[in-house]
Symmetry: C2
Amino acid sequence: MVKPFGAPMTDETQKDPALDIQSADQVVRHIALLIERGALRPGDRLVPERELAQELGVSRPTVRAGLHALAAMGVTESRQGAGTFITGGPPRLGAGPLSFLAALHGFTRDQIFEARKVLEVGAAGLAAERGLADRLAPMAEEVTGMFATLTEPQTFLVHDVRFHRAIAAAADNPVLLALVEMISSLVYEQRRRTVEHAIDLKESAEMHRRIYQAIRDRDPERARLEMTRHLDLARAAQASEQLDLPAGVLPSKVVGG
Amino acid sequence: MVKPFGAPMTDETQKDPALDIQSADQVVRHIALLIERGALRPGDRLVPERELAQELGVSRPTVRAGLHALAAMGVTESRQGAGTFITGGPPRLGAGPLSFLAALHGFTRDQIFEARKVLEVGAAGLAAERGLADRLAPMAEEVTGMFATLTEPQTFLVHDVRFHRAIAAAADNPVLLALVEMISSLVYEQRRRTVEHAIDLKESAEMHRRIYQAIRDRDPERARLEMTRHLDLARAAQASEQLDLPAGVLPSKVVGG
DNA sequence: AGAGCACATAAGGTCAGACCAATTCTCTTC
DNA sequence: GAAGAGAATTGGTCTGACCTTATGTGCTCT
């Protein structure tokens, strides 16, 4: 019985001492073990599939099944002819699972936006509390970029995205950053198609500036407040821009990348 | 619910003529398409692998690779002899990807806890704002359960977990709930092993009660404050209970049985 | 006639070997 | 020493077969 990855870990529903280890899962666990003990680090290359199959005493298709599962979780990336590698770069969570969940359970845009608000408001507050000086410049630059591209919606949006990411980064918490980016990508996926019809880019830029100033002044309360107001208005604006697009948009490429 | 998927999804579904796409992804996208247009709902059974292979013009191992990827994302579950099903039940996000990320990038317990704090404090605030009457009882019951099991740490922990879940549920946002449960499972995975040495269960129960009361009184500010204080102390307590366990802990059981 | 059991069927899980395609390495050649 | 051609490596896919588990059907026994 292959269940989705992830610890059920809730309450007493945790009673499956079954040892009917699926071979594919054996592969996943083997890699997990290597990662846990530090034998595999981001960017490292895995042992070739054929060798892995021999080591574990399973067939190659089985190994491949396990590797596909790992790839779906964003743990590994495979390049034909080169090998399979542990995903490098900054910590990231794929939006795929969340997209599927949204489509399956009919999450509304407002619900997604609200969750995003919780994360980003919290991040803004933490960023202001921390007050890391070297994180201010990137934020300031994106604000400048917004004011400079008021007539180019697509470019403006790029600065918008980067500004929000800069805030999450300034919160100095990789977990929070990964969560913010995961859920933001859902929102922006849509936003990119509707931003052309946006009207209040100047007002949007002003709000971003106020958020920046609050963080710069190390005023968490104000940072939270400004971020809250900004996202509330952004939600309303986006709702008016797109009145008939579906909510649960699955990514064009769920695996790999 | 926003849309009954009225809009024809032309974009990414049509740009398959490119042959450079991975076959396994093709399977994932095919299922994604069916889900998006509502042809597949939670609990539904998928077409048998062999038929799916024929429909898509690929081999069965390829189909299986795609299904493994979907299973890894928590979208499907397969039961030998029965079939492959769209995951039913309440919306949930597996903790696997986050666990791997934690292990790979050495997330600290404090970082995880902090992210959890952002989510749960936000959830508590929303729960208080919403003030849904029918969500109060479950929370109250768990508080009662805590007071009743002060001498049974493991049972106490179960009530603890359920209390926090009840709050997230009272926030009435499935996205937020899924996120809270995902990150909480990471924390509780550890907590279960250390709770035996906990000392201040009574104080913990009191704090939970204060959180409950704030939500019951529909006082968002107080709810946020109490939740913040509770989690700050809980983090400190857990830190003292376990002084030398590794941070990036992969689930002992990535795949259930 | 009804209940229980056994077998047939269906479906996922695994294996084996082969071939293709892209990449990387190496050795030759200028 | 550098550039190019060819060989080796490695992931991607296919074919076909067999096993294990679940389900459903029909037969037998009561």
